[in-house]
């Protein structure tokens, strides 16, 4: 962030200059040195590492030892350094960074003398800052309150006003103080109440009206620009908005951190770490991903496809040796006096498979189909041809949507909105969809074709028409079925996976990116 020895662009430097890490929300918190003095740091670190393992990070024993060694070399009172030292030794995959950060926040931001849940200090903090602020700005309003524990005496309107000012200036210290004050006031946290952090977050944010603040700020900068003579262009406005959004995000993070801090104080570290535990991006279940997780998944998909493409291309080149290349062997034998000492082989030219993707895009499994289509098209260079069909109770070919389009996301979006997949009522009917497929396109499946069917096979008790799959199996090279449901749910209720599975070369459970990646790799 800002470096200490450079003049910072932000106008206020009341502690605002102290560096806050990239995602760093936690502040004034522990001082690991204090922990070390008592010796419990080892114990804490062990708990910390155990929790990381619980969260799914592969931390080996050597890495554990490295971490212990590393923290001996850094000044422990520097929390940022402490964090990076642990991260460098324990986290070896960037996708795991968020999980690490959460666990770190829980374990190391919560104790120490400076950590004051106690409200007097909190108010004093705010009023101190407030005083500074007033002195700096030379504004008279609110000046009378400083004598009597200011923060508490602030009316909500004043707090709102203060928030607006802090955001406008990007004053980190003041924002932090406001975040704490806001949580204290609005979240309504009670000890022992079994409610998750999101609830408190929601309550706090509802009372702060950040949207309103945003609008006010935009209005103010527009006015400012107007006064300066030239009104803002669309681009400038957009940049300004980005900046403010950035600040609002920072404030939200502060609020989350404060809530977490209080929750930990209430419930203890282990319990809290457990509730905050989230699956790693590659383990997120397609069918139950939250919106935020979806965004994470999309981000994880891009590097994944790149990796996969490289790996598949490499595998193709190296996997097999071709037949003996007689001409080149004789040519090489000349340098050994005619003895064919070094046999040469033809480069293998393995065929690229042709892929037919047939995907159920009804509500419950839409997300899964979307991801698989994106993945398949992102690595379509590895296949000689990709054709895709989507169905609910009707079926439609959507290959053309992807042709000549660089942006797969957009194409997938079009698939979801434009494809003609509803026949009667828009409830999945695998049987009918397969039948239509057979009549229209069944003959185009050839011995080079690999058919991949995506869906949970929940057929709403319609006829299965499994003979279509049997027919496919005869014609095609392979038929695979990917089911996004956990294996234990298969063949329960209206799921008839096995009816179809009998005629497939493989039925795979495919609930997360990890499983999907593994499957795609077996394809070529």
């Amino acid at each position: 962030m800002t470096s200490p020895d450079q003049p910072t662009p932000d106008p206020v430097s009341n502690g605002g200059a102290e560096s806050v890490g990239a995602g760093g929300a936690g502040v004034d918190t522990v001082d690991p040195a204090e922990l070390l003095a008592g010796g419990p740091i080892l114990e804490l670190l062990n708990g910390f590492i155990a929790e990381l393992r619980e969260a799914g990070l592969p931390v080996s024993l050597t890495e554990n030892l490295d971490a212990m060694e590393a923290i001996r070399h850094i000044p422990l009172e520097d929390r940022e350094a402490f964090k990076y030292a642990l991260a460098a030794t324990l986290v070896k995959n960037n996708a795991h960074w968020r999980a690490f950060e959460t666990v770190f926040e829980v374990y190391f931001s919560l104790r120490g003398s400076k950590y004051a849940i106690d409200d007097d200090t909190l108010d004093a903090d705010l009023s101190d800052l407030l005083d500074d602020d007033i002195e700096r700005d030379g504004q008279g309003e609110g000046g009378g309150q400083s004598g009597q524990g200011g923060g508490q005496a602030l009316t909500p309107e004043e707090l709102q006003q203060l928030l607006y000012q802090a955001m406008m200036k990007g004053d980190e210290a003041l924002m932090r103080a406001i975040a704490r004050q806001a949580v204290k006031r609005f979240a309504g946290m009670e000890p022992g109440r079994p409610v998750g952090g999101t609830y408190y977050l929601y309550r706090t944010l509802r009372n702060l009206d950040l949207e309103g603040v945003m609008e006010k700020m935009m209005e103010a900068s527009r006015q400012q620009a107007g006064e300066d003579g030239d009104p803002m262009t669309a681009l400038e406005e957009r940049l300004e908005r980005d900046e403010f959004e950035h600040r609002i995000d920072a404030l939200k993070k502060e609020i989350e951190a404060e809530i977490r801090r209080r929750l930990v104080a209430d419930r203890g570290v282990e319990a809290m770490a457990k509730t905050l535990r989230k699956p790693l991006p590659e383990d997120v279940d397609f069918m139950h991903a939250s919106r935020e997780e979806m965004v994470g998944l999309r981000k994880a998909l891009i590097p994944l496809t790149r990796r996969l493409a490289v790996r598949l291309a490499r595998k193709r080149r190296h996997n097999r040796r071709g037949p003996l290349d007689f001409r080149r062997t004789v040519r090489a034998s000349l340098s050994y006096g005619g003895v064919p000492a070094e046999p040469k082989f033809r480069h293998p030219r393995p065929h690229k498979p042709e892929i037919f993707v047939i995907a159920d895009i009804s509500g419950s499994v839409a997300a899964f189909a979307r991801f698989t289509l994106m993945l398949v098209y992102a690595i379509s260079g590895q296949f000689s041809k990709v054709r895709s069909f989507v169905f609910i109770d009707g079926i439609d070919e959507v290959t053309s949507y992807f042709e000549g389009v660089e942006d797969v996301t957009e194409a997938v979006h079009r698939v979801n909105t434009e494809a003609d997949v509803v026949w009667v009522d828009g409830h999945s009917d695998y049987g009918h969809a397969f039948e239509v497929f057979h009549n229209k396109w069944g003959k185009e499946i050839g011995p080079k074709t690999t058919v991949i069917i995506l869906g949970d096979a929940r057929n709403n008790y319609h006829a299965s028409q499994a003979w279509v799959i049997k027919e496919m199996q005869h014609r095609a090279r392979h038929v695979y079925w990917l089911n996004p449901e956990p294996k234990s749910y298969w063949d329960t209720g209206d799921s008839i996976v096995s009816d179809y599975g009998n005629f497939c070369d493989g039925v795979y459970e495919c609930r997360n990116l990890r499983q999907l990646e593994k499957f795609v790799e077996t394809l070529t």
Binding site: A22, K92, R241, H246, R298, E406
Partner: protein, 301 residues
């Protein structure tokens, strides 16, 4: 080995700044730790964020020679570690033909230092002066080849069957870079400190532009950094890297631009972005104000 290269994290940071590399707390901290723990650093991150530059700058900072091993598919021991100079060995045998050297002496001679061709890894181990070893794009070698790095990374030694084990005279600072085109093996990762270099945040990027682009105004640098940050938030095939940001800033300077407006940005977007679809998206974004865009964006389905 008790004398360390660096006293403290701020010292590293300051030193890097002097050679025009603007690090952040994390980067400087890990370089410092690598020296203290005598461990290699595995630097990972998107292309164009200064991974290779970091190694170069550290070398420059401590006045060490940089030895670079560029990895590629098919890299083997003979190219990375050492090789016997067999032509010279043949000559030696032929030369000894007439005189009655016993085979034992010839054999001893053949596998001596004289006939050994040093490759980067061995060179780094045997160097007398301080060196920084850069193993670039380590993700390009096959998993099996990675194994040849393991000995040198954990023990700073190389075993040559004919000569025995050669141990490092001084522990070099080692950087490995990876573009993450494949997952590196656990064994390799375990031996390294891990550093993820991401796109810098806005303030740092602005500083980088200010240092690297001569005569640029504060105002313009600020705008450049802001626009690039906005672009990175979009879903692009390839987000603009730091080096592309610098190219762009340079271009703007050459064009004599003082204030970036939507038209200038759109006209020069091809310097920041390398895919037609990305450019189209960016131009659309520059023109539309965000409010409007948001309203029409598809909501959750």
């Amino acid at each position: 080995m008790t004398d360390y290269r660096f006293e403290s994290v701020p010292e590293v940071r300051e030193g890097l700044r002097k050679v025009d590399y603007l690090s952040d707390e994390g980067i400087a901290g890990i370089v410092y730790l690598a020296d203290r723990l005598q461990k290699p650093i595995l630097v990972e991150g998107p292309a164009g964020t200064g991974k290779t530059q970091l190694a170069k700058s550290v070398a420059e900072m401590i006045g060490a020679r940089l030895i670079r091993l560029q990895c590629y598919e098919g890299l083997d021991e003979a190219k990375a570690l050492y090789e016997w100079n067999y032509k010279k060995q043949l000559l030696r045998i032929q030369a000894s033909g007439g005189e009655g050297d016993s085979w034992e002496t010839v054999e001893d001679d053949l596998f001596s230092d004289e006939f050994l061709l040093e490759r980067p890894l061995l060179e780094a181990i045997r160097a007398d002066e301080p060196v920084v070893l850069l193993i670039d794009e380590v993700d390009r070698v096959e998993v099996e080849t990675e194994a040849l790095l393991l000995e040198i990374l954990s023990d700073y030694q190389v075993s040559i069957p004919e000569l025995g084990t050669i141990t490092a005279k001084q522990i070099p600072l080692v950087f490995l870079t990876s573009n993450n085109t494949r997952e590196l093996s656990e064994a390799l990762k375990r031996r390294c400190l891990f550093l993820h270099v991401d796109y810098p945040d806005m303030d740092r990027e602005k500083e980088i532009v200010l240092t690297k682009v001569p005569d640029i105004t504060e105002n313009l640098a600020d705008q450049v950094a802001r626009i690039v940050r906005s672009l990175r938030q979009l879903e692009l095939k390839k987000a603009p890297s730091v080096s592309e940001t610098l190219d762009w800033a340079n271009t703007l300077m050459l064009l004599g631009v003082e204030q970036i407006d939507a038209d200038t940005a759109s006209d020069t977007a091809n310097i920041l972005l390398k895919y037609q679809s990305d450019i189209a998206k960016a131009v659309r974004e520059f023109a539309a104000d965000k409010q409007g865009f948001k309203q029409f964006a598809p909501g959750p389905k």
